[in-house]
Protein backbone atom coordinates (compact mmCIF):
# COMPACT_ATOMS: atom_id res chain seq x y z
CA UNK A 1 0.00 0.00 0.00
CA UNK A 2 2.68 2.37 1.13
CA UNK A 3 4.98 1.20 -1.66
CA UNK A 4 2.19 1.78 -4.15
CA UNK A 5 1.83 5.30 -2.88
CA UNK A 6 5.52 5.96 -3.25
CA UNK A 7 5.46 4.47 -6.71
CA UNK A 8 2.52 6.64 -7.70
CA UNK A 9 4.06 9.81 -6.32
CA UNK A 10 7.38 8.89 -7.79
CA UNK A 11 5.79 8.33 -11.20
CA UNK A 12 4.11 11.70 -10.97
CA UNK A 13 7.47 13.29 -10.38
CA UNK A 14 9.08 11.46 -13.21
CA UNK A 15 6.17 11.71 -15.63
CA UNK A 16 5.62 8.97 -18.16
CA UNK A 17 9.08 8.74 -19.65
CA UNK A 18 10.62 6.78 -16.83
CA UNK A 19 12.80 4.32 -18.70
CA UNK A 20 14.02 6.80 -21.29
CA UNK A 21 15.04 9.25 -18.61
CA UNK A 22 16.61 6.57 -16.49
CA UNK A 23 18.82 5.25 -19.26
CA UNK A 24 19.66 8.77 -20.30
CA UNK A 25 20.59 9.79 -16.79
CA UNK A 26 22.67 6.71 -16.17
CA UNK A 27 24.50 6.99 -19.43
CA UNK A 28 24.93 10.75 -19.28
CA UNK A 29 26.75 10.41 -16.04
CA UNK A 30 29.37 8.34 -17.82
CA UNK A 31 29.93 10.80 -20.60
CA UNK A 32 30.40 13.81 -18.39
CA UNK A 33 33.64 14.64 -16.71
CA UNK A 34 33.95 14.66 -12.92
CA UNK A 35 32.03 17.29 -11.03
CA UNK A 36 35.20 18.54 -9.39
CA UNK A 37 38.68 17.46 -8.53
CA UNK A 38 38.81 15.39 -5.38
CA UNK A 39 40.40 17.85 -3.05
CA UNK A 40 39.48 19.80 0.00
CA UNK A 41 38.66 23.17 -1.45
CA UNK A 42 39.57 25.77 1.09
CA UNK A 43 42.03 25.78 3.96
CA UNK A 44 39.54 27.98 5.77
CA UNK A 45 37.31 24.94 6.08
CA UNK A 46 36.36 24.70 9.69
CA UNK A 47 36.23 21.62 11.84
CA UNK A 48 32.46 21.53 12.11
CA UNK A 49 32.25 21.15 8.34
CA UNK A 50 34.90 18.45 8.37
CA UNK A 51 32.88 16.54 10.96
CA UNK A 52 29.72 16.89 8.90
CA UNK A 53 31.46 15.86 5.68
CA UNK A 54 30.80 12.26 4.65
CA UNK A 55 34.50 11.51 4.42
CA UNK A 56 34.48 7.95 3.15
CA UNK A 57 32.00 5.81 1.24
CA UNK A 58 32.14 3.55 4.29
CA UNK A 59 30.96 6.49 6.36
CA UNK A 60 28.10 6.95 3.90
CA UNK A 61 27.06 3.35 4.58
CA UNK A 62 27.41 3.72 8.35
CA UNK A 63 25.43 6.96 8.33
CA UNK A 64 22.81 5.44 6.05
CA UNK A 65 22.31 2.62 8.56
CA UNK A 66 22.89 4.83 11.61
CA UNK A 67 25.79 2.77 12.89
CA UNK A 68 27.80 5.77 14.06
CA UNK A 69 27.02 8.97 15.93
CA UNK A 70 27.47 12.47 14.55
CA UNK A 71 31.14 12.50 15.56
CA UNK A 72 31.88 9.33 13.62
CA UNK A 73 32.11 7.11 16.72
CA UNK A 74 31.00 3.58 16.02
CA UNK A 75 27.91 2.51 17.96
CA UNK A 76 27.94 -0.85 19.72
CA UNK A 77 25.39 -3.15 18.02
CA UNK A 78 24.05 -3.87 21.53
CA UNK A 79 23.33 -0.17 22.07
CA UNK A 80 19.66 0.82 21.44
CA UNK A 81 20.97 3.76 19.42
CA UNK A 82 22.43 1.33 16.86
CA UNK A 83 20.37 1.52 13.63
CA UNK A 84 17.80 3.49 15.63
CA UNK A 85 14.82 4.23 13.41
CA UNK A 86 14.13 7.75 14.66
CA UNK A 87 17.75 8.79 14.54
CA UNK A 88 18.05 7.32 11.06
CA UNK A 89 15.05 9.27 9.88
CA UNK A 90 16.32 12.47 11.41
CA UNK A 91 19.86 12.24 10.11
CA UNK A 92 19.50 10.69 6.67
CA UNK A 93 18.95 13.97 4.83
CA UNK A 94 22.62 14.86 5.43
CA UNK A 95 23.42 12.14 2.90
CA UNK A 96 21.69 14.01 0.07
CA UNK A 97 23.26 16.69 -2.06
CA UNK A 98 20.99 19.44 -0.79
CA UNK A 99 21.71 21.61 -3.82
CA UNK A 100 19.74 19.04 -5.80
CA UNK A 101 17.44 17.47 -3.25
CA UNK A 102 16.78 20.58 -1.21
CA UNK A 103 14.56 21.46 -4.18
CA UNK A 104 12.99 18.02 -4.29
CA UNK A 105 12.09 17.46 -0.66
CA UNK A 106 9.25 15.10 -1.60
CA UNK A 107 11.36 12.46 -3.30
CA UNK A 108 13.97 12.68 -0.55
CA UNK A 109 11.23 12.31 2.06
CA UNK A 110 9.60 9.31 0.35
CA UNK A 111 12.94 7.62 0.17
CA UNK A 112 13.72 8.21 3.84
CA UNK A 113 10.26 7.04 4.92
CA UNK A 114 10.53 3.95 2.77
CA UNK A 115 13.98 2.78 3.82
CA UNK A 116 13.28 3.44 7.50
CA UNK A 117 9.87 1.74 7.48
CA UNK A 118 9.43 -1.34 9.61
CA UNK A 119 10.74 -3.63 6.89
CA UNK A 120 13.71 -1.30 6.76
CA UNK A 121 16.64 -1.90 4.50
CA UNK A 122 20.26 -1.39 5.39
CA UNK A 123 23.20 -1.07 3.09
CA UNK A 124 26.07 -3.48 3.63
CA UNK A 125 29.55 -3.61 2.17
CA UNK A 126 29.25 -7.24 1.16
CA UNK A 127 25.56 -7.01 0.26
CA UNK A 128 26.24 -6.85 -3.50
CA UNK A 129 24.54 -4.74 -6.16
CA UNK A 130 26.58 -1.64 -5.58
CA UNK A 131 29.29 -0.61 -8.00
CA UNK A 132 32.05 1.84 -8.40
CA UNK A 133 32.33 3.90 -11.54
CA UNK A 134 35.93 4.92 -12.12
CA UNK A 135 36.33 7.50 -14.82
CA UNK A 136 39.90 7.47 -16.10
CA UNK A 137 42.12 8.88 -18.78
CA UNK A 138 43.92 6.45 -21.09
CA UNK A 139 45.98 6.91 -24.21
CA UNK A 140 44.35 5.08 -27.10
CA UNK A 141 46.70 4.76 -30.02
CA UNK A 142 48.58 7.77 -28.65
CA UNK A 143 45.51 9.97 -28.13
CA UNK A 144 44.07 10.84 -24.70
CA UNK A 145 40.64 9.33 -24.18
CA UNK A 146 38.18 9.00 -21.34
CA UNK A 147 37.12 5.51 -20.35
CA UNK A 148 34.85 4.24 -17.62
CA UNK A 149 35.53 1.14 -15.59
CA UNK A 150 32.77 -0.48 -13.56
CA UNK A 151 34.01 -2.36 -10.54
CA UNK A 152 32.14 -4.52 -8.07
CA UNK A 153 32.94 -6.14 -4.75
CA UNK A 154 33.45 -9.88 -5.10
CA UNK A 155 33.79 -12.29 -2.19
CA UNK A 156 36.88 -14.42 -2.34
CA UNK A 157 38.80 -16.60 0.08
CA UNK A 158 38.48 -15.19 3.59
CA UNK A 159 37.36 -11.80 2.40
CA UNK A 160 36.58 -9.80 -0.68
CA UNK A 161 38.09 -7.64 -3.39
CA UNK A 162 37.11 -5.10 -6.04
CA UNK A 163 36.96 -6.63 -9.51
CA UNK A 164 36.45 -5.19 -13.00
CA UNK A 165 32.91 -5.91 -14.16
CA UNK A 166 32.58 -3.87 -17.30
CA UNK A 167 33.97 -1.08 -19.44
CA UNK A 168 32.30 1.81 -21.11
CA UNK A 169 34.45 3.21 -23.90
CA UNK A 170 32.81 5.11 -26.74
CA UNK A 171 35.30 3.71 -29.27
CA UNK A 172 34.16 0.19 -28.36
CA UNK A 173 30.49 1.13 -28.48
CA UNK A 174 30.95 2.64 -31.92
CA UNK A 175 32.13 -0.77 -33.13
CA UNK A 176 28.87 -2.39 -32.08
CA UNK A 177 26.10 0.08 -32.81
CA UNK A 178 22.51 -0.91 -32.24
CA UNK A 179 21.85 -1.61 -35.92
CA UNK A 180 18.76 -1.03 -37.96
CA UNK A 181 16.62 -4.16 -37.96
CA UNK A 182 15.90 -4.17 -41.69
CA UNK A 183 19.61 -3.75 -42.38
CA UNK A 184 20.34 -6.60 -39.97
CA UNK A 185 17.89 -8.87 -41.74
CA UNK A 186 19.83 -8.52 -45.00
CA UNK A 187 22.93 -10.10 -43.53
CA UNK A 188 22.96 -13.85 -43.13
CA UNK A 189 24.45 -17.03 -44.59
CA UNK A 190 21.61 -19.04 -46.11
CA UNK A 191 20.93 -22.46 -44.62
CA UNK A 192 22.43 -24.45 -47.50
CA UNK A 193 25.78 -22.65 -47.48
CA UNK A 194 27.40 -25.74 -46.06
CA UNK A 195 26.79 -27.61 -49.29
CA UNK A 196 28.91 -25.08 -51.14
CA UNK A 197 31.82 -25.32 -48.75
CA UNK A 198 30.76 -21.92 -47.36
CA UNK A 199 32.00 -20.22 -50.47
CA UNK A 200 29.86 -17.22 -49.44
CA UNK A 201 31.51 -16.77 -46.06
CA UNK A 202 33.71 -13.94 -47.38
CA UNK A 203 30.61 -11.72 -47.07
CA UNK A 204 31.08 -11.60 -43.30
CA UNK A 205 34.45 -9.96 -43.74
CA UNK A 206 33.67 -7.74 -46.66
CA UNK A 207 31.90 -5.23 -44.41
CA UNK A 208 33.63 -5.45 -41.02
CA UNK A 209 31.32 -2.82 -39.49
CA UNK A 210 28.42 -5.29 -39.69
CA UNK A 211 30.37 -8.51 -39.17
CA UNK A 212 28.56 -9.20 -35.88
CA UNK A 213 25.24 -9.49 -37.76
CA UNK A 214 26.44 -12.91 -38.78
CA UNK A 215 26.80 -14.00 -35.16
CA UNK A 216 24.35 -16.03 -33.13
CA UNK A 217 21.34 -14.27 -31.66
CA UNK A 218 22.81 -14.78 -28.23
CA UNK A 219 25.95 -12.87 -29.12
CA UNK A 220 26.70 -9.88 -26.89
CA UNK A 221 29.93 -7.99 -27.35
CA UNK A 222 32.12 -8.34 -24.26
CA UNK A 223 33.72 -4.98 -23.71
CA UNK A 224 35.91 -6.20 -20.94
CA UNK A 225 37.52 -8.73 -23.29
CA UNK A 226 38.05 -5.96 -25.86
CA UNK A 227 39.54 -3.78 -23.16
CA UNK A 228 42.04 -6.43 -22.04
CA UNK A 229 42.87 -7.14 -25.68
CA UNK A 230 43.67 -3.49 -26.34
CA UNK A 231 45.67 -3.25 -23.13
CA UNK A 232 47.65 -6.38 -23.96
CA UNK A 233 48.28 -5.14 -27.50
CA UNK A 234 49.57 -1.89 -26.03
CA UNK A 235 46.97 0.21 -27.82
CA UNK A 236 45.37 1.37 -24.58
CA UNK A 237 47.69 2.83 -21.94
CA UNK A 238 46.46 3.93 -18.52
CA UNK A 239 47.15 7.54 -17.54
CA UNK A 240 45.20 8.49 -14.41
CA UNK A 241 41.91 8.35 -12.57
CA UNK A 242 39.73 11.42 -12.98
CA UNK A 243 36.84 10.70 -10.67
CA UNK A 244 35.02 8.03 -8.76
CA UNK A 245 31.35 7.59 -8.03
CA UNK A 246 29.11 4.81 -6.82
CA UNK A 247 25.91 3.27 -8.14
CA UNK A 248 23.79 1.57 -5.53
CA UNK A 249 21.04 -0.88 -6.52
CA UNK A 250 21.17 -2.75 -3.22
CA UNK A 251 18.27 -0.95 -1.55
CA UNK A 252 14.91 -2.51 -2.35
CA UNK A 253 13.06 -0.62 -5.09
CA UNK A 254 15.58 2.22 -5.26
CA UNK A 255 18.62 3.18 -7.21
CA UNK A 256 20.94 5.98 -6.18
CA UNK A 257 24.21 7.41 -7.25
CA UNK A 258 26.76 8.71 -4.74
CA UNK A 259 29.26 11.37 -5.84
CA UNK A 260 31.99 13.35 -4.15
CA UNK A 261 31.07 16.96 -3.37
CA UNK A 262 34.07 19.09 -2.70
CA UNK A 263 32.86 22.23 -0.98
CA UNK A 264 33.29 24.10 2.25
CA UNK A 265 29.85 23.43 3.62
CA UNK A 266 28.17 21.19 6.12
CA UNK A 267 26.74 19.27 3.16
CA UNK A 268 29.88 17.84 1.54
CA UNK A 269 31.78 14.66 0.79
CA UNK A 270 30.07 11.49 -0.51
CA UNK A 271 26.42 12.40 -1.10
CA UNK A 272 23.44 11.11 -3.04
CA UNK A 273 23.58 12.93 -6.36
CA UNK A 274 20.83 11.00 -8.10
CA UNK A 275 17.88 9.04 -6.74
CA UNK A 276 15.39 7.02 -8.74
CA UNK A 277 12.56 4.76 -7.69
CA UNK A 278 12.97 1.47 -9.59
CA UNK A 279 10.89 -1.56 -8.65
CA UNK A 280 13.05 -4.64 -8.22
CA UNK A 281 11.78 -6.31 -11.38
CA UNK A 282 12.92 -3.36 -13.48
CA UNK A 283 16.46 -3.46 -12.13
CA UNK A 284 17.40 -6.64 -13.99
CA UNK A 285 18.06 -5.00 -17.34
CA UNK A 286 19.99 -2.13 -15.84
CA UNK A 287 22.18 -4.46 -13.86
CA UNK A 288 23.31 -6.12 -17.09
CA UNK A 289 25.58 -3.16 -17.62
CA UNK A 290 27.04 -3.22 -14.10
CA UNK A 291 27.39 -6.95 -13.81
CA UNK A 292 27.20 -8.48 -17.30
Amino acid sequence: MRRQKIEDRSKKIRGGWFSTLLVLVLLLSFGTMPVSAQSIGDVQMDEANLYAMTKQMGQFIRRFNYEEDQFGNKINPKDPAYRNKQKRQQSMSILFDQETYGNQPDLQQYFIEDVTANDSTYMTFLGGRWYSEVSATFKYNGKEVNLIMILGVEKEGLGSKWVLNNIYFSEFNKLFPTGDLTEKEKHFLHPMSHELDFMNIYKIFKEPEVAEYYASRSFEPNYLTLFFYEIKKGHLVFQHVDSVKFHVFQIKDWYFEVSWFNRNSSNAGWLISNLIYIPEKDKKDLLKFYEP
Partner: protein
Protein backbone atom coordinates in the same frame (compact mmCIF):
# COMPACT_ATOMS: atom_id res chain seq x y z
CA UNK B 1 31.65 -45.20 15.97
CA UNK B 2 34.13 -43.78 18.42
CA UNK B 3 36.35 -42.77 15.51
CA UNK B 4 33.50 -40.95 13.86
CA UNK B 5 32.72 -39.13 17.07
CA UNK B 6 36.34 -38.14 17.48
CA UNK B 7 36.43 -36.87 13.90
CA UNK B 8 33.26 -34.93 14.49
CA UNK B 9 34.73 -33.42 17.62
CA UNK B 10 37.80 -32.29 15.70
CA UNK B 11 35.67 -30.80 12.94
CA UNK B 12 33.54 -28.99 15.48
CA UNK B 13 36.60 -27.70 17.27
CA UNK B 14 38.22 -26.43 14.07
CA UNK B 15 34.94 -24.87 13.01
CA UNK B 16 34.68 -23.13 16.33
CA UNK B 17 38.21 -21.75 16.09
CA UNK B 18 37.47 -20.41 12.63
CA UNK B 19 34.24 -18.82 13.77
CA UNK B 20 36.13 -17.18 16.60
CA UNK B 21 38.67 -15.88 14.15
CA UNK B 22 35.94 -14.32 12.06
CA UNK B 23 33.80 -12.82 14.80
CA UNK B 24 35.70 -10.21 16.75
CA UNK B 25 33.73 -8.57 19.53
CA UNK B 26 32.86 -4.87 19.36
CA UNK B 27 35.17 -4.14 22.30
CA UNK B 28 38.13 -5.89 20.69
CA UNK B 29 37.41 -4.16 17.39
CA UNK B 30 37.46 -0.86 19.25
CA UNK B 31 40.85 -1.68 20.70
CA UNK B 32 42.14 -2.55 17.23
CA UNK B 33 40.69 0.70 15.83
CA UNK B 34 42.47 2.67 18.57
CA UNK B 35 45.69 0.84 17.86
CA UNK B 36 45.42 1.65 14.15
CA UNK B 37 44.61 5.26 14.97
CA UNK B 38 47.62 5.39 17.25
CA UNK B 39 49.89 4.33 14.36
CA UNK B 40 48.44 7.12 12.23
CA UNK B 41 48.97 9.62 15.05
CA UNK B 42 52.53 8.36 15.40
CA UNK B 43 53.02 9.00 11.69
CA UNK B 44 51.56 12.51 12.07
CA UNK B 45 54.05 13.24 14.81
CA UNK B 46 56.96 11.88 12.77
CA UNK B 47 55.89 14.02 9.81
CA UNK B 48 55.88 17.03 12.13
CA UNK B 49 59.36 16.25 13.46
CA UNK B 50 60.78 15.60 9.98
CA UNK B 51 59.15 18.75 8.59
CA UNK B 52 60.39 20.98 11.42
CA UNK B 53 63.45 23.04 10.57
CA UNK B 54 64.60 22.76 14.19
CA UNK B 55 65.14 19.02 13.90
CA UNK B 56 68.80 18.07 13.49
CA UNK B 57 69.61 16.17 10.31
CA UNK B 58 70.70 12.99 12.12
CA UNK B 59 67.63 13.08 14.33
CA UNK B 60 65.35 13.55 11.32
CA UNK B 61 66.95 10.56 9.64
CA UNK B 62 66.40 8.39 12.69
CA UNK B 63 62.76 9.51 12.81
CA UNK B 64 62.35 8.72 9.09
CA UNK B 65 63.57 5.20 9.89
CA UNK B 66 60.91 4.91 12.55
CA UNK B 67 58.22 6.32 10.28
CA UNK B 68 59.24 3.89 7.55
CA UNK B 69 58.80 1.01 10.02
CA UNK B 70 55.12 1.93 10.33
CA UNK B 71 54.54 1.08 6.66
CA UNK B 72 54.40 -2.06 4.56
CA UNK B 73 57.53 -2.31 2.45
CA UNK B 74 55.72 -1.65 -0.83
CA UNK B 75 53.49 1.19 0.36
CA UNK B 76 53.14 4.21 -1.88
CA UNK B 77 52.01 7.75 -1.31
CA UNK B 78 49.87 9.24 -4.06
CA UNK B 79 49.80 13.02 -4.10
CA UNK B 80 47.59 15.15 -6.26
CA UNK B 81 46.99 18.88 -6.40
CA UNK B 82 43.90 20.80 -7.28
CA UNK B 83 45.55 21.83 -10.54
CA UNK B 84 45.93 18.30 -11.84
CA UNK B 85 44.24 14.96 -11.44
CA UNK B 86 47.53 13.32 -12.13
CA UNK B 87 48.70 11.46 -9.04
CA UNK B 88 52.37 11.68 -8.22
CA UNK B 89 53.58 8.47 -6.60
CA UNK B 90 56.25 8.40 -3.91
CA UNK B 91 57.77 5.65 -1.82
CA UNK B 92 57.61 6.43 1.89
CA UNK B 93 61.25 7.37 2.40
CA UNK B 94 61.57 9.74 -0.58
CA UNK B 95 58.28 11.35 0.46
CA UNK B 96 59.58 12.09 3.95
CA UNK B 97 62.99 13.15 2.67
CA UNK B 98 61.25 15.50 0.28
CA UNK B 99 59.45 16.96 3.29
CA UNK B 100 62.77 17.34 5.13
CA UNK B 101 64.36 19.22 2.23
CA UNK B 102 61.52 21.65 1.55
CA UNK B 103 62.99 25.06 0.97
CA UNK B 104 61.20 27.07 3.62
CA UNK B 105 62.74 28.86 6.52
CA UNK B 106 60.06 27.72 8.87
CA UNK B 107 57.33 25.14 8.50
CA UNK B 108 54.11 24.70 10.45
CA UNK B 109 52.29 21.41 10.23
CA UNK B 110 48.97 21.18 12.01
CA UNK B 111 46.58 18.28 12.22
CA UNK B 112 42.87 18.79 12.47
CA UNK B 113 41.22 17.15 15.39
CA UNK B 114 39.25 14.92 13.06
CA UNK B 115 40.14 11.33 12.48
CA UNK B 116 37.78 8.99 10.72
CA UNK B 117 38.29 5.26 11.07
CA UNK B 118 36.54 3.00 8.57
CA UNK B 119 35.22 -0.46 9.32
CA UNK B 120 37.76 -3.19 8.78
CA UNK B 121 37.12 -5.41 5.76
CA UNK B 122 38.95 -8.64 5.11
CA UNK B 123 40.83 -9.16 1.89
CA UNK B 124 40.98 -12.64 0.32
CA UNK B 125 44.01 -13.75 2.39
CA UNK B 126 42.17 -12.84 5.60
CA UNK B 127 44.13 -9.67 6.41
CA UNK B 128 41.89 -6.87 7.63
CA UNK B 129 42.03 -3.61 5.67
CA UNK B 130 40.77 -0.26 6.82
CA UNK B 131 41.20 3.38 5.90
CA UNK B 132 41.80 6.24 8.31
CA UNK B 133 41.11 9.77 7.12
CA UNK B 134 42.91 12.75 8.61
CA UNK B 135 43.30 16.39 7.66
CA UNK B 136 46.46 18.49 7.74
CA UNK B 137 47.31 22.12 7.22
CA UNK B 138 50.80 22.97 6.01
CA UNK B 139 52.34 26.44 6.13
CA UNK B 140 55.77 27.34 4.77
CA UNK B 141 57.40 30.67 5.67
CA UNK B 142 60.28 32.41 3.90
CA UNK B 143 63.32 34.12 5.47
CA UNK B 144 61.36 37.31 6.10
CA UNK B 145 58.75 35.32 7.97
CA UNK B 146 56.12 35.74 5.26
CA UNK B 147 53.73 32.93 4.49
CA UNK B 148 55.03 31.50 1.23
CA UNK B 149 52.82 28.44 0.87
CA UNK B 150 49.78 27.05 2.58
CA UNK B 151 47.46 24.15 1.92
CA UNK B 152 45.07 21.76 3.59
CA UNK B 153 45.21 18.13 2.60
CA UNK B 154 42.96 15.17 3.19
CA UNK B 155 45.02 12.08 3.87
CA UNK B 156 43.40 8.69 3.43
CA UNK B 157 45.69 6.07 4.88
CA UNK B 158 45.33 2.33 4.33
CA UNK B 159 45.73 0.26 7.46
CA UNK B 160 46.46 -3.47 7.34
CA UNK B 161 45.70 -5.47 10.46
CA UNK B 162 46.86 -9.04 10.76
CA UNK B 163 46.65 -11.48 13.65
CA UNK B 164 50.09 -12.93 14.31
CA UNK B 165 51.81 -15.02 16.93
CA UNK B 166 55.34 -14.95 18.25
CA UNK B 167 57.21 -16.73 20.98
CA UNK B 168 58.54 -14.54 23.78
CA UNK B 169 59.98 -15.80 27.04
CA UNK B 170 58.85 -19.34 26.22
CA UNK B 171 55.21 -18.50 25.64
CA UNK B 172 53.09 -17.69 22.58
CA UNK B 173 52.02 -14.09 22.32
CA UNK B 174 49.09 -13.37 19.99
CA UNK B 175 49.31 -9.84 18.67
CA UNK B 176 47.73 -7.52 16.11
CA UNK B 177 50.26 -6.46 13.54
CA UNK B 178 49.18 -3.06 12.30
CA UNK B 179 50.97 -1.72 9.24
CA UNK B 180 50.19 1.32 7.17
CA UNK B 181 49.75 0.87 3.43
CA UNK B 182 49.14 3.25 0.56
CA UNK B 183 48.36 6.81 1.49
CA UNK B 184 46.32 9.12 -0.72
CA UNK B 185 47.16 12.78 -0.22
CA UNK B 186 44.88 15.24 -1.93
CA UNK B 187 46.65 18.56 -2.03
CA UNK B 188 44.84 21.78 -2.65
CA UNK B 189 45.86 25.22 -3.83
CA UNK B 190 46.47 27.83 -1.18
CA UNK B 191 43.30 29.87 -1.31
Amino acid sequence: MKKILAMLAIVLFVGNVMAQEEEISFERKQAIDSLALEKVRDLSKYIKIVGSKETAWSEANRVIDRAEELFMSNAEIGVSSVASNNIKYYKVRPYLEHLMRLNYDRVEIEWYNIEYVSDLQRQPDGTYVGVITIFQTFRGYDKEGNLAYKDTTKKDITVYVKRKETQIGGRMIGFWDVLLGDMRVKETANK
